[in-house]
Symmetry: C2
DNA sequence: GTCTATACGGGGATAGAC
DNA sequence: GTCTATCCCCGTATAGAC
């Protein structure tokens, strides 16, 4: 994706490398990291198990790499979406972004939440740092809204976590073709998030 | 717990059986079902691997049994707590109950949410049914509140799921000895849940 | 009820030919 | 870059002695 063309004649690496990652992501999400063998991944890719080690030094690094790239892309995608705006508009945009992005990349999201225990302590720290960085985007919006008096929350940090939890939970039940489409769900959540933040609440002594 | 005294002289089953379950619950929560071996469980219990099969026909049934008992106890505990009351009081009680119970039984909760993929289809269906039964307790409260005009929600089902997601997320970050204790956290969530349900919102044409 | 011993399969990872 | 072959270890589960 982000490299120039490789010139290795007769090589399949341009296709096999990404395929290994895609297959691993899918199988890890479906069965869990520990339950998936390198042989299974290889079979699905269409190579022998030994060939996978041209693309990762070991299984655990493959997992970390998937999680890491997912988190980096998540943050980059939000930063590309976010615009200078009012806190109310920003939090609505974040809500829509989070739901849409998480539903579009369900396998990667699932892995990033479920397979943390399979990471080495150092790798775990890296992923946790990225997650915190993402949450801070929302927390900063809420902080700004509170400062400007348009949000009324008792505890900014807890409100952030509660909202993240509420939004992420959508991935556990949403099914394409169900009663509501993504936009319909997002509309409902924008409204609920607004309520959690006390938007439009009765307040005294506000200009 | 719920059986009468066994009389088998010289037997340790009264202690080993529960210990197997406790150890398995702890290890499954910490490392994941697939990553934990029967040998590990046995070592922690202090018996040989073969001896575990006096208490479970196989590893997968042990997992199912832990999840099943947890869900049954969760529902029973709520039903014992719930009292005839106003929707507003009921939803506050549910919020406090859910947070306190989930924090008190974190290992079991974690397993029940994370290890669903390791269940056979039939076992999965049983656990899903129990989860639905639990969610329906909250959904019914919300439905009653809407019917009585004290809650204002756009979509009862989605509000139920959003609230469950918000409450369950507490287990991912709460640490004993942190800034807030369980009651303090619960207070904040009671307030946020109330907002999601539109308690005290401006309404026209309500008695 | 627990032990030892073991069957049998599959795990991650590497070596060396092509 | 991929293959075949293989190392060595560990997985679940069972059998039969005590």
């Amino acid at each position: 994706m982000q490299r120039g063309m490789a010139r290795t004649t007769g090589s399949h690496s341009q296709t096999t490398g990404p395929r290994v990652r895609a297959v691993a992501e899918h199988l890890f999400a479906k069965h869990g990291f520990a339950a998936v063998s390198m042989r299974q991944i290889a079979a699905e890719v269409g190579v022998q198990a030994g060939a996978l080690y041209n693309y990762t030094p070991d299984k655990q690094t493959l997992l970390f790499s998937l999680m890491h790239d997912h988190m980096v892309e998540l943050i980059a995608a939000w930063d590309a979406t976010a615009t200078m705006s009012t806190p109310t508009a920003s939090v609505a945009a974040f809500t829509r972004f989070h739901i849409a992005y998480h539903l579009a990349r369900r396998d990667a999201v699932f892995i990033a939440y479920m397979e943390l225990r399979n990471l080495s302590p150092e790798n775990f720290a890296v992923i946790e740092g990225l997650r915190k960085a993402y949450e801070q985007r929302l927390e900063q919006i809420i902080r700004d809204g509170v400062a400007q008096g348009v949000f009324v929350v008792a505890d900014t940090r807890i409100a952030t976590l509660a909202i993240i939890g509420m939004l992420t939970e959508v991935t556990t039940w949403f099914r394409d073709g169900g009663r509501l489409d993504v936009d319909g769900v997002a509309d409902l959540y924008v409204a609920m998030v607004g309520r959690v933040l006390g938007i439009g609440e009765d307040r005294r002594s506000v200009s």
